[in-house]
């Protein structure tokens, strides 16, 4: 496969993943502002940080308001990580590599772009927001469905999956890192209702508030939430799950190509660390430090894949 094609697939799926996660973040933010007695703009500060666009926002806006923040996250082309920017970039990459995609996968991507371009031409009114968020989740879900249902399990599939999970791991780690302080052992043993809102919002940001209850107690506990999103190998948005997938897809490539790159070792180490460290251990060492280190390792794996498989030269 062309190095440029591998690059296009990798980024196509990073962007689609980012678009979907963006919609989820907005959803969680909206939910939080509904649950609060007095809505505060600070909530959106956290959401912008999770999306990694807090500074960029300040370059465009003078002050933080919820409607500006939502618009910035949803539609603003000045924000390369806005849902619309991501869908556009994902579709752009898909168009570039469409010879590598099944017709179903391409059409699902193209139709996602057509619909979202249409429904995001104007600022979305609060009343329409749930519908728009649903549409984004549905459309990106259709891409995933078409992809899984029709693509050959070959190198094309592997590079696409790697893109998805590098992005997802980055997103989950950021969400945790922005809110790490609410997960630290609290002064009081029982969380205040304020804490509960924050904790639930973390779970909502990764669509895991129902699943949490199936795995742990119905009661929200910070250590369990951290465990769920970091170490639980069955939770599809956890760091451990993402790295199992990255390692296995890199493994297929190594077997098919008969060679390994630096990325293989870095990813394997990252997975081992995720498996071997208990959540208490991580909390003791410092959650923030741990997440920072993870994000930097994740970036390194991405870079090593880019170099090893000749994405650019």
């Amino acid at each position: 496969m062309l190095g440029r094609t591998a690059n296009g697939l990798y980024w196509m799926f990073r962007y689609i993943e980012r678009a979907e996660n963006g919609a989820r973040l907005i959803d969680a933010g909206l939910r939080m502002s509904l649950t609060r007695s007095e809505a505060t703009e600070d909530d959106w500060d956290g959401v912008l940080q999770s999306a990694g666009v807090r500074e960029l926002y300040d370059q465009v806006h003078d002050k933080l308001t919820s409607s500006d923040a939502i618009d910035f996250l949803l539609r603003d082309r000045a924000n390369p990580s806005s849902v619309m920017s991501c869908i556009e970039a994902g579709r752009h990459n898909a168009r570039m590599v469409r010879t590598a995609l099944t017709r179903e996968t391409w059409e699902a991507t193209n139709e996602c772009w057509i619909e979202m371009k249409q429904s995001l031409t104007r600022m979305v009114r609060p009343a329409e927001m749930p519908e728009v968020i649903d549409a984004i989740k549905r459309r990106t879900g259709l891409i995933r469905g078409a992809f899984h249902g029709t693509m050959l399990r070959n190198e094309i599939f592997n590079f696409s999956r790697i893109g998805t999970f590098i992005e997802r791991a980055d997103n989950t780690a950021r969400i945790l890192d922005v809110k790490y302080y609410v997960l630290l052992p609290a002064v009081s043993a029982v969380g205040s209702s304020m804490d509960n809102v924050q904790w639930e919002s973390i779970l909502r940001s990764v669509s895991a508030h129902r699943a949490y209850g199936w795995v742990y107690d119905a009661e929200l506990k910070p250590a369990n939430i951290a465990d769920f999103l970091i170490s639980n190998g069955r939770m599809p948005r956890s760091l451990a799950y993402c790295y199992e997938k990255i390692v296995s897809n890199l493994g297929y490539l190594a077997r098919e190509y008969g060679e390994k790159h630096a990325a293989h070792e870095t990813a394997e180490q990252t997975l081992q660390s995720l498996r071997s460290r208990s959540i208490d251990d991580i909390m003791d060492q410092g959650l923030h430090e741990y997440l920072e280190e993870f994000i930097s390792h994740n970036n390194r794996v991405g870079q090593e894949i880019t170099d090893g498989y000749r994405f650019y030269n």
Binding site: L2, R4, R95, R98, T99, I114, F159, R310, N313
Partner: protein
């Protein structure tokens, strides 16, 4: 579709019967459905200079253009003769130049022409084929009367529309293909690949590796490039994927560099090799011309084929065909005034209101004057440009083009069309039965170019 006595013309009779039984509103709804299929599939083209509308659909008309088997055979013979002559002409022009020595074509017309590439002198491409893919633009003016408008011998586009139009028609109206015996066009990608592979350079051992070279995603025909690569099952490459290594052109893959044997390039000559042609080209591959001349890659179409489809050369086509085939041309050339000749220029300026004036190197319907439909002011302005650079223009009469029906809200209405059949040249000449019918959607208009609001239709050649 109709004879003078309002009965349907013979090839249309079965279709006409079907059409008469259809509900018009259903057809109009189908028309919308077709548009959705095209949009969903992303069958779009880019219009340069329109920032807002960077991807557009070419309007599709769902009434097929139907050609009888008998009429097609005549046409195909004429096209084959012409394509053989084009290749012989190119070989001659880049070698002995006998046609110039015989005084049939003025030397300066060739040697002062930008499309003539001195780098090709004395070089013979693998298999002696210059134009692997040709799209001959043809108009019909009456029963068995065809004129060639242009020989597109560089990188003719539009074949993906021929294929998608057929696909769409078969999806929407399967019954029509039971009732009519329509010759298939679907095997074009297979024939193209076979034809390209058969002309791999002599040094190529094993299965030739073919790739399609595109200028990239922003090119107006990018969809077609991706489509053809996909259908042929070959890589779609950009200049940045390719590099000359050890005397071969190689593409950067996830496992390292792999050699390419045949490059179907959809990049113009000028941009092909910055070391040989335009040094500022970022689309090409530095050094590919050296690899080519050393016989280590086949480039399709060969660089320098533009000299054969140049509008100034066009007027000499009847002589060219006769010179190389020894026979009278089977297809007519549109009478052409070369404005570089003072007498012709005088005639053209005096008859602007009845002529079509085109730029010698133009394409896409840009920079042309359609005399009969232009305003007086437009004609006056154009006359000035003509006088300034007469050598830049040719003029032709407006032919009374035949029309075919299109579907409009009120039913059907006649519109002017042309036809571009696609021709593959290897050790044989293969003409795909059908081609791309372009239709001028505006009433009375003669401009069929998609960049100027033209549409397309499925084109049927019937088995006898």
């Amino acid at each position: 579709m109709m004879n003078a006595d309002t009965s349907p013309r013979q090839p249309y009779s079965t279709y006409h019967e079907w059409y008469a039984s259809q509900d018009r509103n259903r057809l109009i709804a189908k028309s919308k459905e077709a548009e959705n299929i095209f949009r969903k599939t992303g069958i779009t083209f880019a219009v340069y200079g329109h920032a807002d509308s960077s991807e557009k659909l070419i309007p599709f008309d769902l009434i097929p253009r139907i050609i009888s088997g008998r009429e097609w055979r005549r046409l195909a013979q004429g096209i084959e003769q012409r394509v053989i002559a084009l290749n012989a002409f190119l070989d001659d022009i880049y070698h002995k130049q006998e046609i110039i020595r015989a005084g049939r074509i003025p030397r300066e017309l060739i040697e002062k022409n930008d499309a003539f590439l001195p780098q090709m002198i004395g070089f013979r491409p693998p298999g002696g084929v210059y134009t692997h893919i040709v799209g001959t633009d043809i108009v019909r003016t009456g029963e068995d009367q065809f004129y060639v408008l242009e020989d597109n011998a560089r990188t003719p586009s539009g074949v993906s529309y021929m294929l998608e139009n057929r696909e769409t028609m078969m999806q929407m109206f399967p019954e029509l293909f039971h009732q009519n015996r329509v010759r298939p066009v679907e095997n074009y990608p297979y024939l193209l690949r076979q034809s390209l592979a058969s002309l791999a350079p002599p040094g190529c051992t094993g299965k030739p590796r073919v790739a399609v070279l595109t200028p990239g995603i922003y090119n107006s025909a990018f969809y077609e490039h991706a489509f053809l690569a996909d259908m042929m099952g070959v890589e779609l490459v950009e200049g940045s994927d390719l590099r000359v290594i050890d005397g071969k052109v190689k593409m950067r893959t996830t496992r390292g560099y792999t050699a390419i044997d045949v490059l179907y390039r959809r990049v113009d000559d000028d941009f092909l090799d910055p070391l040989t042609f335009r040094p500022d080209s970022a689309l090409g591959i530095p050094g590919i011309m050296d690899v080519y001349r050393a016989g280590n890659i086949t480039i399709a179409n060969a660089p320098g084929t533009g000299i054969s489809d140049d509008k100034a050369i066009y007027s000499y086509m009847p002589e060219i065909v006769e010179f190389y085939t020894g026979r009278k041309p089977l297809l007519e050339n549109v009478p052409t005034w070369r404005c570089s000749e003072p007498q012709s220029l005088k005639y053209v300026l005096e008859h602007l209101e009845e002529l079509v004036v085109k730029e010698v190197h133009g394409s896409g319907g840009y920079g042309m004057l359609v005399g009969p439909t232009a305003t007086k002011r437009e004609r006056t302005a154009f006359a000035e440009k003509l006088k300034e650079r007469p050598g830049n223009y040719i003029a032709q009469p407006t032919l009374s083009l035949s029309t075919v029906p299109i579907l409009v809200n009120k039913g059907i209405a006649p519109r002017h069309v042309d036809l571009r059949p696609y021709v593959l040249v290897s050790d044989k000449v293969q003409i795909i039965p059908g081609g791309l019918t372009r239709v001028a959607l505006k009433e009375g208009s003669l401009v069929v170019n998609s960049s100027q609001g033209g549409g397309t239709k499925d084109t049927w050649v019937l088995e006898d």
